[in-house]
């Protein structure tokens, strides 16, 4: 049975991006349920809080990447950040020909704003958005020759799935895909402002039948309405959120409970509350049962190390090398999850990024405050020898490490003079330990 501290650390990792120094100790007394309730009670932030840097154009995307990761690591509403990340892997857009930085930035902003609201709402907004219309070829689809791409993925990947998660029944047919493609015609791109608009003259206004009903002269709003009213819709969303947060496959009874809790439109906040309230969420089977994906590694380490001035790290490059840049999903299905990241590539790639982060501050007084690493400075100042190993694990929020890891970190910390170099090497070691690599 996991300790209370381990459960608290688990809540930080699953409802956010892991604990910062002190976060586990601060909540061990109150317990994991109290922590979950507190995290869920934090009001979401909005565009005014995000303070995106002026980036001019796409040549300065590094500033945006740095700010996005900084928000993920430091925003008070960690649940919002976690769910925005879930949506990035669910409502996927990526670089493609003319679909570039500005549109993708707008897309991620939309996901961030909608990440705790009704999923039906954000799905409708995204489906009509410039980024998605460009990514899945909605732009240019004509009445004479409708394009199936957007409608198919709206059904398969964004709203329903191929089969109902509980009944196993097919959610849609190829005939539905063709009819929905007709309904989604008529969208055009204004190249002057890079914005999508609807041109009724290119829209197939004829009667259509899809998803089990006659829909009349349906267009995009009616398609979204039909998808979100489909019996499979809430189950599809509930299963995805449960898998992401609990890391376990849900059974039918669990899904029924989650769907009931999510309510009309499928409230994402309601789903998170329901998942966090499930007893299995804090079970031994759930704790540490997932491999951290690259963004979880990077943001988790930023929280541990409390690093600022992130633009200097070129973390967009790091995420590209780690194969999880927010603008570079491998395909419309997003990134792999969980154990698909369990390969030595992660260990090796991550070892380079972890070292870069840990060695960014040499401990000298001349390092600007924004470029100091408070965690390593505290480690160096507060302990030495084997005790420093214990402290490094605690600062990283790694509770109940294996005997092998505990011994390895203690021995290494005590294996030489206690210098700032050894302090940052100890933290480097902790960040490549198996305990940090699982979530």
């Amino acid at each position: 049975m996991a300790s209370t501290a381990a459960q608290v650390a688990h809540v930080w990792r699953r409802l956010g991006f892991g604990p910062a120094p002190g976060d586990v100790a601060a909540w061990t007394g109150a317990g994991p349920q109290a922590l979950a309730a507190a995290l869920l009670a934090v009001p979401p932030t909005g565009p005014a809080d995000w303070a995106w840097p002026y980036t001019g154009d796409w040549t300065e995307v590094g500033k945006y990447e740095a700010r996005l990761l900084e928000l993920m690591a430091t925003s008070p509403c960690q649940v919002q950040e976690r769910m925005a990340f879930v949506l990035m892997g669910l409502l996927v857009t990526a670089f493609k020909e003319n679909l570039q930085y500005e549109e993708l930035k707008e897309h991620i902003g939309r996901l961030r704003e909608g990440s705790l609201g009704p999923y039906a709402t954000v799905l409708g907004q995204v489906t009509a958005s410039t980024a998605m219309q460009m990514y899945l070829d909605g732009v240019g689809s004509t009445e004479e020759h409708p394009n199936e791409n957007l409608g198919r993925e709206l059904c398969e990947l964004f709203g329903l799935g191929v089969t109902h998660p509980v009944t196993g029944q097919p959610c849609y047919t190829e005939g539905d895909v063709k009819e929905i493609a007709r309904a989604l015609t008529g969208y055009r791109l204004d190249w002057n402002v890079m914005h999508v608009y609807h041109d009724p003259s290119g829209w197939d206004a004829g009667p259509k039948t899809f998803l089990g009903a006659f829909r009349g002269a349906a267009g995009l709003p009616e398609v979204v309405q039909a998808v979100t009213a489909h019996p499979a819709f809430p189950y599809f969303v509930a299963r995805r959120v449960y898998r992401e947060l609990a890391g376990l496959p849900p059974d039918a009874a669990t899904l029924e409970a989650l769907v009931a809790a999510a309510g009309p439109g499928v409230s994402l906040l309601g789903l998170v509350q329901a998942v966090a309230g499930r007893p299995e969420f804090l079970s031994d089977a759930a704790i540490g049962a997932r491999v951290k994906c690259p963004i979880e590694l990077v943001v988790g380490a930023l929280r541990v190390l409390q690093l600022g001035d992130l633009e200097r790290f070129y973390l967009g490059w790091a995420l590209t090398e780690l194969q999880q840049h927010p603008f570079r999903a491998p395909n419309v299905n997003g990134w792999p999850s969980g154990s698909a990241w369990l390969h030595a590539g992660q260990l090796i790639q991550w070892s380079g990024v972890a070292r870069m982060l840990c060695w960014s501050d040499d401990g000298s007084p001349g390092v600007p405050l924004a470029q100091q690493c408070p965690t390593i400075r505290a480690l160096h100042a507060s302990a030495s020898g084997a005790a420093a190993g214990d402290l490094a694990l605690a600062l990283a929020g790694l509770v109940d490490p294996s005997a092998a890891t505990l011994q390895a970190v203690r021995d290494y910390a005590a294996g030489g003079a206690w210098t700032f170099d050894r302090a940052r090497a100890v933290m480097n070691l902790v960040l490549v330990s198996p305990e940090f690599l699982v979530n």
Binding site: N147, E174, G175, L342, H343, L347, Q349, G352, A408, Y412
Partner: protein, 481 residues
């Protein structure tokens, strides 16, 4: 898309130098490890008792997946079929004029103009096989992800967590973490097994775990100590993976050769060159996998597919060029597949939507050049297109016949092939069985329907234009596990 270096004032190589390391890795499948994950297996590996060099003469496949569903009609172009050019039911605005395409001696087909190397290879060496009408009939899925999983696992239930090449490696090279290599983004499911982890390689020269810049003494020992964890579960698996990574890194990094890989290449060229280095170095691996794309040409297909096929062709040229001086050149063949083809008619974005029957290509050592299988008819059969599946070409050859053909070449032993695929599937004479085992007989109507001209006396008559109807190769039923 503009190069990323413009965005940050830093190019990728500079960033990698900042990291001081790596882009290669071993990869595990979904929590499957048994032998490999055990401390005992790691000890065996470190003791050097595991096979580290593939004997010369052992067949090797490099499986290249054209992600997204490649259009077969504009790859192997049926220029003699008037339905191909039909504006209402054919490829219309996408149809390639015959004069722009490349001749394939002895056939009624011509090749996409970007595939000059393949055309040259067909016309001179004669070791290119085109497998027509390949697809599946059990799911008839138009979903990328279901179709990919079906191809990758050869299991229509879509529940099988292991790939078909991973299961092969479980049989023939159990526990060897170098038995299954994935180039580029990975691991790919085809190579995932229970006992053989996937080795994911982006760059052989950079396979190095990053050690700290100072206080290095004892760091490696600490990692080794972590790797001795006896824990069950995920943490224990990660711990043991640490140890195995160190055990194989020198072997892999030793294959690197900057004179081969230097320069800026498209990703598929990078991936195939890394594969060539590892093959040349004799890594104990018969199965290399990689993918690139997207071939999901819903829009602007002519430019998009043309650019990708040009990259593929150049990558193949460089790959075989590197291997030309190797004593393994006759062992290596490339298999090019895609999860499905595309619909026949053109959409409003001058692209095509998801289809069914596709085209596979085999090229290289051991390949008997020719056309294999039956071309699906392009004749729609009337205004309701009864000869098509939602405007897609109907498959005539089960994709598992192609996989059985490849496995038979690798294994030379039908018992292994049956065990891997869960039953017997017809094989194509495009690849004879490997040298280690007996050649299998071929049954059904699998066989050549055309062949390259010039080099072979027993070449059958050139195929006419693609036939309508005729017996397909999809079986009435297949044995299931």
């Amino acid at each position: 898309m503009a190069p990323r270096c413009d965005r940050t004032g830093m190019d990728r190589r500079a960033f990698l130098r900042t990291l001081g390391q790596v882009t290669l890795a071993t990869a595990m499948g979904p929590a499957l490890f048994e032998a490999f994950g055990s401390p005992a297996a790691a000890a065996v590996l470190r003791s050097g008792s595991l096979e580290t060099t593939l004997p010369v003469g052992t067949p090797i496949v490099v499986l290249v997946t054209l992600d997204g569903g490649n259009d077969p009609l504009n790859t192997l172009v049926p220029v003699d079929d008037p339905w191909y050019y039909d504006s209402a039911y054919g490829h219309g605005a996408l149809a390639l004029p015959a004069e722009s395409t490349l001749a394939l001696t002895g056939t009624g087909y011509r090749l996409h103009p970007a595939l000059a190397f393949l055309a040259e290879r067909w016309n001179t060496v004669g070791d290119v096989a085109f497998v027509l009408g390949v697809g599946e009939h059990e799911l008839q899925t138009f979903s990328h992800f279901d179709a990919m999983k079906l191809w990758q696992t050869a299991d229509a239930s879509l529940l099988e967590p292991r790939g078909w090449l991973g299961r092969y490696n479980d049989q023939v090279r159990p526990g060897n973490p170098m038995a299954s290599v994935c180039l580029g983004f990975g691991p790919r499911l085809e190579g995932v097994g229970v006992t053989s982890p996937v080795l994911v390689v982006k760059d052989t020269s950079l396979f190095r775990f990053a050690l700290p810049y100072a206080a290095t003494s004892g760091f490696q020992a600490a990692l080794d100590h972590m790797a001795t964890s006896q824990e069950n579960g995920l943490r224990g698996q990660v711990a043991r993976l640490l140890g195995t990574t160190f055990a194989i890194s020198d072997r892999v990094r030793g294959a690197s050769d900057a004179t081969v890989t230097d320069g800026d290449h498209p990703s598929i060229t990078d991936q195939l060159l890394q594969a060539a280095l590892l093959i040349r170095a004799g890594l104990p691996c018969q199965t290399y996998t990689t993918a690139f794309g997207p071939f999901d040409t819903h829009g602007d297909q002519l430019a998009m597919q043309g650019s990708l096929l040009a990259d593929l062709d150049d990558a193949l040229r460089q790959f075989f060029s590197v291997l030309a001086a190797s004593d393994r050149r006759a062992d290596v063949f490339v298999a090019i597949v895609s999860e499905f083809g595309r619909q026949v008619t053109v959409n409003g974005n001058v692209g095509t939507d998801h289809g069914q029957a596709g085209l596979s290509i085999l090229v290289g050592g051991g390949v008997q050049g020719g056309l294999y299988g039956e071309a699906p008819t392009l004749d729609p059969g009337g205004v309701t297109r009864p000869n098509r599946l939602h405007d897609a070409l109907v498959p005539t050859l089960d994709f598992r016949s192609l996989e059985a053909t490849i496995l038979t070449r690798l294994a030379g032993d039908s018992g292994v092939v049956s065990a891997v695929l869960g039953g017997s599937f017809e094989t194509l004479p495009a690849l004879p069985g490997g040298p280690a085992g007996p050649k299998r007989g071929h049954r059904g109507n699998a066989g050549r329907t055309g062949a390259p001209g010039g080099a072979q006396a027993d070449r059958p008559a050139p195929s006419a234009k693609p036939r309508s109807g005729g017996p397909g190769m999809l079986p009435e039923s297949r044995p299931r596990r």
